[in-house]
């Protein structure tokens, strides 16, 4: 049984179907018949931060090793009679999976045989098969993946920052875990995590592209039984408001120092609202976007290069504005950013800069409906947050300069900032 509704956006000329299966599975489908390909994601709200959880029908929290969600993602492709890649090889679909902080997603894209591919996806994600032997084999492969990221300066500078900002929240740990933590993972543990996190109430399906919506819904209804799973409750980690340490550095084989400057925000409620996220994105664009006077000054003075960027990094129990780039003087760039924030607080935001940032972000929002995999990612974000896909257009239109000024005056507090630097090896 599936309940569905059609959601439209007149401005964009786009629409999608949002549906709920009686098992609790959430479904989002945007049909784009003039495209050749279709992309599908079957995902669970289970990522690297979920090292502590409980089921709604129990009181006790369970702890699991760091990197388990990612490990499970790797192993789920295997079944008793071969692996999912072998099955996809028969249709030619591109298949992959990824684990982030708060989700694990299995995906494929194809231009033909959608039904066969979707059958494979619905099947292997729900049917785990692990043995002690296959778990051990994967420890070698993931061990090399971790090693690869150990040499990736952009990755390291970011995780070093997160461990400077956060003392307890698992967002501070690499998504793949550590060589030590993954050594603790057993087949039984993976089965248990699968039972808990891969129940339909905790999962979603997002599809976009050249598909027949009703056929996709029918296929889901045929394959998934109605039994409702138990809700998973994420554990909070008593993260203090304070940062862990204001400065962290590491040496790697790089040409020029890399930096991440982060401002840790309070998370009194675990998740930021859509409006808070958009207002902060506009503010960051005003402070340090390519059209800001700060960006122009820093680049003209030779203090940054085109890698300079900013983002509002946020999820369950964590939120931080992060400025990142390369500079021979990271500390000076950090000081300049902080000084610019103070200046804007003192002098106020230029209304023209606000209009510019808004115009630019509006265009980018329209453009993202060009690309099928981008649409699917946005549908996944929708499934995760519970907001509607087009809500951002409405929320965005209503944002005023006062909203952004208030954000400037309440967020980006220096007291809660930390700087992470990667220095070249001597």
């Amino acid at each position: 049984m599936i309940e569905k509704k059609l959601i439209k956006c007149e401005t964009l000329g786009e629409s999608y179907i949002q549906a709920t299966h009686s098992s609790g599975l959430k479904i989002y489908i945007m049909s784009k018949p003039d495209y050749s390909s279709a992309h599908a994601i079957f995902g669970t709200k289970y990522g690297s931060i979920d090292t502590k959880f409980r089921l709604a029908d129990t009181d006790e929290f369970t702890l699991i090793p760091e990197g388990t969600a990612h490990f499970l993602e790797h192993k789920l492709f295997e079944s008793e009679d071969g692996n999912a890649f072998e099955r996809y090889a028969k249709t030619g679909a591109y298949a992959n999976a990824y684990t982030s902080f708060d989700r694990t997603c299995y995906l494929f894209s194809c231009t033909s045989q959608f039904e066969e591919n979707f059958d494979i996806l619905l099947d292997f994600v729900r049917h785990p098969f692990f043995t002690a032997e296959t778990v051990e084999k994967e420890q070698g492969i993931i061990g090399q993946e971790i090693r690869m990221y150990d040499d990736e300066p952009n990755w390291r500078v970011c995780f070093n920052l997160l461990s400077a900002l956060y003392s307890r929240h698992p967002v501070r740990i690499d998504i793949a875990g550590t060589t030590e933590s993954i050594a603790e993972i057993t087949a039984d543990m993976l089965f248990e995590c699968h039972r808990n996190f891969y129940n339909m109430s905790n999962m979603f399906i997002c599809v976009a592209g050249n598909v027949d919506v009703d056929a996709v819904l029918d296929q889901i209804d045929r394959q998934i039984d109605d039994q409702k799973g138990c809700e998973v409750i994420r554990g909070l980690h008593d993260e203090p408001r304070e940062i862990n340490t204001p400065y962290v550095e590491q040496r790697l084989a790089v040409a020029k120092p890399l930096f991440n400057l982060g401002f840790k925000e309070a998370c009194d409620v675990p998740e930021k609202t859509l409006k808070e996220r958009i207002v902060t994105a506009i503010l960051l664009e005003i402070i340090s976007g390519k059209s800001s006077s700060l960006y122009e000054r820093l680049i003209n003075e030779g203090l940054i290069n085109e890698s300079f960027d900013s983002e509002y990094f946020n999820g369950f129990g964590y939120a931080a504005e992060i400025f990142d780039g390369e500079s021979s003087e990271p500390q000076r760039v950090a000081d300049e950013i902080k000084a610019e924030i103070k200046r804007l607080r003192r002098e106020g935001i230029d209304p023209d800069a606000f209009t510019c940032a808004k115009n630019s972000l509006y265009g980018q929002m329209v453009m993202q409906y060009n690309v099928i995999d981008r649409i699917v990612s946005d549908l996944v974000a929708t499934a995760m947050s519970g907001d509607g896909l087009f809500d951002e257009m409405d929320v965005f239109a209503a944002i005023t300069l006062d909203d952004v000024t208030e954000c400037l005056n309440t967020q980006l507090n220096e007291e809660y900032s930390a700087l992470s630097v990667i220095l070249p090896t001597e």
Partner: protein, 428 residues
């Protein structure tokens, strides 16, 4: 992609190409300048597109450019410098929302075309020199881009192997020229390069939108009317055999993981068919997760996270790269050659060949779903009078047989081996 692509001549050696793309909310205008790769000109050429998109008479600073783009609803101005066979290709493009999404009924697409033309034809020059401040800034950024290539170890390792493999050929010159070449440039050199590029490069102007718009190409026709065109012919890329003795090179850095890259040359690489044969061979050797290298080096032997094969279709070579423990480098090397031997001996299932062909056909069919990808697809084939459509490419791939794979595998000869290892200090 059933609609017709329309080509027209804008000026001598300047071709305008309209590609209808009805599925997108954007229009894209791209300009490519193709020139022979040469030591003397590579650095100046490489800097040019960055300088042209960073300042002009009408938009004297990058801040003014950036604010103008915001005003054009976040239009995306991009530039790059790439290698294509033995050529250097300078690219500039602007992508904007189509006019119907504008909130104030403006001709956004036309304004974007005017902006791109203004940047290319009316740069910030005086007394035969580019503006000194802008030149110094863009050159610094370029030198940092060159220096920063070491940061991504996987790409750096591939680049090192390819440069060695191509030694002595124009294609061995790095896409941005060299650090020294950049530092030796003056603002007057870039002015000379600008003149030379506008006059001698082979130029393609691509326009991708839902509806054709003659006025876009007319604007370029007027702009080129002021230029005295003397286009230099573009010579087809040279394809060389493997070296008699395998080159083995090695770097040491403070790294946690070793990188191994093997470069192979095909001894019988010539006609178009070889392109598709090598493409299919590479895919079943180390393309998708069904490939021999993925299945054996990664899955069965747990030696790595990635072990992948790729080809350069213009230069007819193939590379295999992997990130491995230092202690496992030799074992990985042996296994890569062992898997290649299986292809040479025909020791692979037909199902593997089918999987590769299906996967490649799928990717060709999906090309039209990205405006920039479809632009690149046709730009890469600009010298063909009648390039195959992505669907026709699929047909060509399907025609590759088991014997073709065995034949191409036997034509591959190891040319270069690159190893990135840890410094003595890191090993401790």
């Amino acid at each position: 992609m059933t609609e017709k692509i329309v080509k027209n001549e804008i000026a001598l050696g300047v071709v305008g190409v309209y590609i209808p793309t009805t599925r997108f909310k954007t229009a894209r205008l791209s300009v490519e300048f193709e020139l022979p790769l040469a030591e003397e000109t590579a650095s100046a050429n490489a800097l040019l597109p960055f300088l042209l998109t960073g300042c002009s008479k009408e938009y004297p600073t990058s801040l003014i450019i950036s604010r103008r783009l915001d005003n054009l609803y976040g239009a995306n101005l991009e530039c790059s410098c790439e290698k294509r066979g033995d050529s250097q290709v300078l690219k500039m493009s602007i992508t904007s929302i189509e006019n119907k999404y504008s909130l104030d009924d403006r001709d956004i697409v036309g304004e974007c075309a005017d902006m791109l033309i203004s940047l290319i034809f009316n740069p910030l020059v005086e007394n035969d020199r580019f503006d000194e401040k802008s030149f110094q800034k863009e050159r610094r950024l370029m030198v940092e881009k060159i220096d920063g290539e070491i940061n991504n170890k996987r790409n750096y390792a591939l680049y090192r192997c390819e440069s060695e493999l191509l030694k002595g050929e124009p294609a061995s010159i790095a896409r941005y020229g060299s650090r020294e070449g950049q530092l030796a440039l003056t603002s007057a050199d870039i002015f000379t390069a600008w003149k030379r590029v506008l006059s001698t490069a082979f130029i393609r102007v691509g326009y991708l939108a839902a509806e054709p718009d003659e006025s876009v190409f007319d604007r370029f026709k007027s702009a080129f009317a002021t230029i005295e065109r003397q286009p230099e012919p573009i010579v087809p890329p040279v394809v060389s055999p493997a070296k008699a003795i395998v080159s083995e090179i090695e770097d040491r850095m403070a790294v946690n993981q070793g990188k191994l890259v093997l470069g192979f040359r095909s001894s019988s690489y010539g006609d178009d068919r070889d392109t598709y044969r090598l493409m299919v061979l590479s895919d079943l050797f180390g393309g998708g997760p069904y490939s021999l290298l993925f299945d054996n080096v990664r899955e069965k032997m747990s030696l790595c996270y990635y072990c992948a094969s790729r080809t350069n279709r213009r230069k007819g070579f193939l590379t295999v790269d992997s990130g491995v423990e230092f202690a496992n480098m030799d074992k990985t090397y042996d296994e890569i050659l062992n898997q290649l031997n299986r292809l040479k001996n025909g020791d692979f299932d037909d199902s593997l060949l089918d999987a590769s062909k299906k996967s490649l056909c799928e990717s060709f069919r999906a090309l039209g779903d990205s405006q920039s990808v479809i632009d690149r697809y046709y730009a890469d084939r600009v010298h063909s009078d009648n390039p195959p459509t992505p669907d026709e490419m699929g047909e060509l791939v399907r025609s590759v047989t088991r014997d073709d794979i065995i034949h191409v595998a036997n034509s591959l000869k190891l040319d270069t081996v690159y190893r990135l290892k840890a410094t003595e200090e890191m090993k401790k």
